[in-house]
């Protein structure tokens, strides 16, 4: 596999393999601590990020490799008008692998077409975020013990939430998956996902505005933030940002083994009184993210 642009670039067997390696890393950290000695990762973040960038950097460091890069477009030559293709050709001369985030959708694919080193899409606008999906899959596997026979509630911004789009695409390949899509009308999932993924694969799904309506049916509740940076109109953002707030009361009817996930950062959509609930998996999810990125870097650099 040369690049990871879309979660669809990985088949189910490859994902299984990554999860297996990630679980082995969790058990045997020392064994992996020099696997990438002498290798370099560039983190090219044309858009701000805390978790994803640091997770990639920590992953490479824990493998013994080095990291360089930038954390905003303004601190790169993009500010001078350089194209994505030219930036990638340049950085490819310095490093072995590139993780890239860009606000424009499709930018990592443009990069992959020109790059001589592997490209990992670390998020492109509201489009794809495959390493978050791998993080989510590892979290589900570790927390629930399976990736099949699950009813998954996705709540919040399902229109611009790229993590949601990638997760739906990935989970649609497993047996007996049902989705409960919880969002206001303005933030429903895009039509293409319904047509090309859910309907095409005969996946059962329900759309609702009410977070509590199907709470007792859910095995996983995946909360998302309404993303200010995706709105052209601030009024719409203000109207929708606090549409859902998950708290202890709303969880009363939930299953005892519900797994509550969130790609983070959160704003108000999960009340802090939920954090101590053992079902809240979102901070463990952050840690799983580093391990699956370590497994991915190893795979893409073909390190055994």
């Amino acid at each position: 596999m040369k690049n990871l642009i879309d979660i669809k670039d990985l088949n189910v067997e490859e994902i299984e393999e990554l999860i297996k390696v990630a679980k082995d890393i969790i058990q045997n950290k020392e064994k992996y601590s020099h696997k990438c000695d002498g290798k370099k990762l560039a983190t090219l973040f044309f858009e701000p990020s805390t978790r994803t960038r640091l997770s990639f950097e920590a992953a490479m460091m824990d493998l013994g490799g080095n990291v360089l890069g930038f954390s905003s477009a303004s601190s790169s030559s993009t500010a001078k008008g350089e194209s994505v293709a030219d930036t990638i050709r340049t950085v490819g001369c310095y490093v072995d692998i590139i993780a890239m985030r860009h606000p424009k959708e499709g930018a990592p694919l443009v990069a992959a077409e020109k790059s001589v080193v592997p490209i990992i899409n670390a998020g492109d606008g509201g489009h794809n975020h495959p390493t978050q999906t791998l993080t989510d899959l590892l979290t589900i596997k570790c927390e629930k013990g399976r990736l099949e026979d699950l009813t998954i509630g996705l709540c919040g911004d399902l229109k611009f939430g790229r993590t949601v789009h990638s997760l739906i695409t990935a989970m649609s390949r497993y047996k007996n998956i049902k989705f409960v899509l919880i969002s206001p009308d303005e933030l429903k999932i895009p039509e293409y996902l319904k047509e090309d993924v859910l309907e095409k694969n005969n996946i059962e799904f329900i759309e609702t505005k009410d977070i509590e309506e199907y709470m007792d049916k859910l095995d996983i509740l995946y909360m998302t933030r309404v993303q200010k940076e995706r709105f052209f109109n601030e009024e719409d953002y203000i109207r929708l940002k606090d549409y859902y707030i998950l708290n202890k009361e709303k969880l009363e009817k939930a299953k005892k083994d519900l797994c509550i996930m969130h790609p983070l950062p959160r704003v108000n959509e999960i009340s802090i009184d939920v954090d101590d609930d053992p079902r809240a998996a979102y901070f463990r999810q952050v840690e799983y993210g580093k391990y699956i990125r370590m497994a991915l870097i190893l795979k893409m650099l073909e390190v055994k």
């Binding site: 194209s83 994505v84 293709a85 860009h102 606000p103 424009k104 959708e105 499709g106 930018a107 694919l109 443009v110 492109d124 606008g125 509201g126 489009h127 039509e191 293409y192 047509e195 090309d196």
Partner: protein, 140 residues
């Protein structure tokens, strides 16, 4: 209504009624120096009404454009007053620089040197999506 037959050239037949002008413009036929006839609302046994374009010269035409706009079109190639080839166009798997991505968040909206590439992702529903952002093209 009579339009002279052509000696050497192309007849684009079975165009959906009212689509003739769109095809004329998409193929840039206004740039040709030969005669071009657009017949609109012609009677058709098969279609009820149809448009026809006659080009009085053998030229290379972009079949992908025709297939994208109207896959039911028939192309007739005429040489020395004889019909030497007749064929149908099909929906192309990929179209390049025919339509523009309308998604303001797509990378093609800021990097203008990139080709506008759309892929046929659903043959049954005839849906094209931007190669980069997967945004849907507007139906022709």
């Amino acid at each position: 209504m009579n339009i002279d037959s052509i000696k050497n050239g192309i007849v684009i037949d079975h165009i959906k009624a009212k689509k003739g002008m769109e095809i004329y413009e998409a193929l840039n036929l206004q740039e040709l120096e030969c005669s071009v006839a657009i017949i609109t609302n012609a009677k058709s046994k098969k279609m009820g009404r149809k448009d026809i374009i006659k080009i009085d010269k053998s030229i290379d035409i972009d079949l992908d454009i025709l297939g994208y706009i109207d896959p039911d079109i028939t192309i007739n190639i005429v040489k020395d007053d004889k019909l030497i080839k007749k064929f149908h166009v099909t929906k192309p798997e990929k179209i390049v620089n025919i339509v523009k991505c309308q998604n303001p968040r797509c990378i093609t909206s800021v990097e203008k040197e990139l080709d506008q590439v759309f892929i046929l992702t659903d043959k049954e529903k005839q849906i094209y999506r931007c190669k980069y952002c997967e945004g849907r093209s507007f139906n022709p």
